[in-house]
């Protein structure tokens, strides 16, 4: 059972990781938490569902559409909500409140427009028999999630390390103002980061749709991803991935060996302890670096 629980934990952790990187990216650039990130995830899950049921029942097609839609919704949130506020040069806390507002609006819009019932992805597309070895069962979708998450996360890491935009993003994460003085178009840069975060949200949304169906409050799972990002260190991409796996595995272990009712008590206590011992998270950069 122990090995099975580890597998369960890694599978949950990989979903958290995809979302956590989105939080971390935007935080590292703009020093605020985009609480509307979950909305892009939830919308992508719905788009994936409709792409598969209404347009073309092909898993790869659905994946691509969902990923693009995740990027689109992330861009839309930035363009309609954050940009007007940024132009007014408001305090960061207003951006956070606006993000929470977007979440509430989006959840309720979905309830009004589509309804509160959950929408399961067509099971015929994802009914591959799980792999069994060493007494452990590994779901095909779980395996796909881990592989695609790893590929996507490496791609993002490489992009940020080696591309011109990546260089700009990294410098902007030290100082947005100075980067702007160096001749970088900061508006475009912010948009790029939101689109990258949105692509990851799209991947997460599609896989969550397969595993957990599409429903209006799907975005609330992203709060766990936010905790992962804090745990691993806000602003550090590798850190948030590590944080996500730690959170996923520890949740499963608490449920499996202690008690399911204590799961959240335990994980939030873990968060508090880590923040007390290492306020920057496991792999986070000290925030003084940015000033």
């Amino acid at each position: 059972m122990f090995l099975q629980q580890i597998i369960n934990g890694l599978s949950i952790g990989s979903i958290y990781a995809l979302m956590a990187v989105g939080y971390s990216l935007i935080y590292s650039l703009m020093n605020f938490t985009n609480f509307a990130h979950g909305v892009a995830v939830m919308m992508a899950a719905y788009v994936g569902f409709y792409a598969l049921t209404l347009i073309f029942p092909n898993a790869v097609f659905g994946f691509l559409i969902a990923v693009v839609s995740g990027a689109f919704f992330s861009f839309l949130i930035e363009f309609t909500t954050y940009r007007p506020l940024l132009l007014k040069n408001v305090k960061r806390v207003y951006l956070i409140i606006a993000g929470l507002g977007v979440t509430i609006v989006a959840e309720n819009l979905i309830i009004v427009a589509i309804g509160g019932r959950f929408k399961p992805y067509p099971s015929t597309l994802f009914s591959a028999k799980p792999i069994k070895m060493f007494g452990v069962v590994i779901g095909i979708v779980d395996l796909e999630i881990v592989i695609i998450s790893v590929i996507t996360l490496i791609a993002v890491e490489l992009y940020i390390k080696y591309s011109r935009d990546g260089l700009a993003i990294r410098s902007a994460s030290f100082s947005l103002d100075i980067t702007s003085l160096m001749g970088v178009n900061v508006d475009k840069l912010i948009m790029t980061v939101f689109i990258i975060a949105g692509l990851l949200a799209g991947v997460a949304g599609y896989f969550m749709g397969i595993k957990y169906t599409a429903y209006p409050t799907l975005d609330q799972l992203s709060i766990k991803a936010f905790i992962s990002a804090v745990l691993g260190g806000m602003g550090s991409l590798t850190g948030s991935v590590v944080g996500a796996f730690i959170l996923g595995v520890s949740e499963v272990m608490v449920t499996g060996y202690i008690s399911s009712s204590l799961r959240d008590v335990f994980t939030f206590s873990l968060l508090v302890i880590i923040l007390l011992v290492r306020p920057t998270g496991i792999m986070g950069k000290s925030s003084e670096d940015k000033v």
């Binding site: 369960n8 934990g9 099971s123 799980p130 069962v137 779901g139 272990m253 449920t255 399911s260 009712s261």
Partner: protein, 387 residues
Amino acid sequence: MKKILSVVVILTIVLAVLAGCRSSNVSNDVIKLGYIGPLTGDSAPWGTTELNTLKMLVEQTNANGGVLGKKIQLFSYDNRADNIETQNSAKKLVQQDKVVSIIGTNASGPAIALASVCEELKVPQIATTATNALVTVNTDGKVRPYTFRMCLTDPALGTIMAQYAYSKLNIKSAAILFELGSDYSVGVKDVFKDAFEKIGGKITVVEAYKTGDVDMRAQLSKIKATNPQAIFLPALYKQIALVAKQARDLGITSAFLGCDTWQASDVLLYGGSAIEGSYFDAAVDYADPLLKPFVAQYQAKYNANVLAMGANGVHADDAFLIWIDAVKRAGKADPQAIRDALETTKDVQGCICKISFDADHNAIRDAAIQTISNGVVKSAGTWRISQ
């Protein structure tokens, strides 16, 4: 001018008194029955189904000569599913319309509100689909003398499933997976566990998930390690589908057991092959052939499906049949006599089965056991609670 006005006032009073006399005179050759339920607002479909059923039955009974040689007169009030409205309606029914009994309401909240008025005014009430324990029993555990109910309560369904699984399905060990934070799920989990252990079954493990959780594989892996014959899952359709699929993916082959929340058609739609071979119980099997005449009658009169909104029509029918029987046995249209007769109701034929009342005024009736086989819900017979 003043003179004319005072004449008008006096005339009005005289007319009102006369009108009052007339209505009280009429009450001698009719038996008055009241109905309270939601007839407008979100809950209207349920209330309307019940009232339509009662109207149909009253018409039929009157056409056949009524009861005790008298015609039945039905009074109905809309409570808009509101507690205060329910109490006002009840007072109007008893004090103004002089009904001898009240049928309704369907929701537990208003039914409890109605019970307090009926106890005070000493008029018997038969609730239709109110499942909360406190409808027929006070908070101190004492039965409310004037309040009865037709449906099976949630605890009763949990107990029945435990007894059926052990005795009929030969399931000797079961695990439970329930929802923390859902009163329904926690309550049913407790009675299932007690009932199953009482008759000798073994509960291997009790696991829980939180409202809103979507990944239950950690709990299911733990359940799998205890190797139960069945998993009792008192959940709503979404969790049923997710849990069942995740369980099958983990290689769990145990059958699932559930209660009436499994009756939702979405369970079948979303659960797919993962819920094949599951058993659940409910107060009414909507495909029961015994329901056909009733459904056809209602369809002919109202051009609507009486079962479209659930068991409300069936329980309104039950309530009426039980009430008529009680009036006949009481021999007079007197609230106290009818109450006494209701209390001794034993094996009276309802809409689909014989009904009695237990000491807590809950209906003792057959539960419909259903199973999912080849992707469709099939009847697996009935089961009556054995104390």
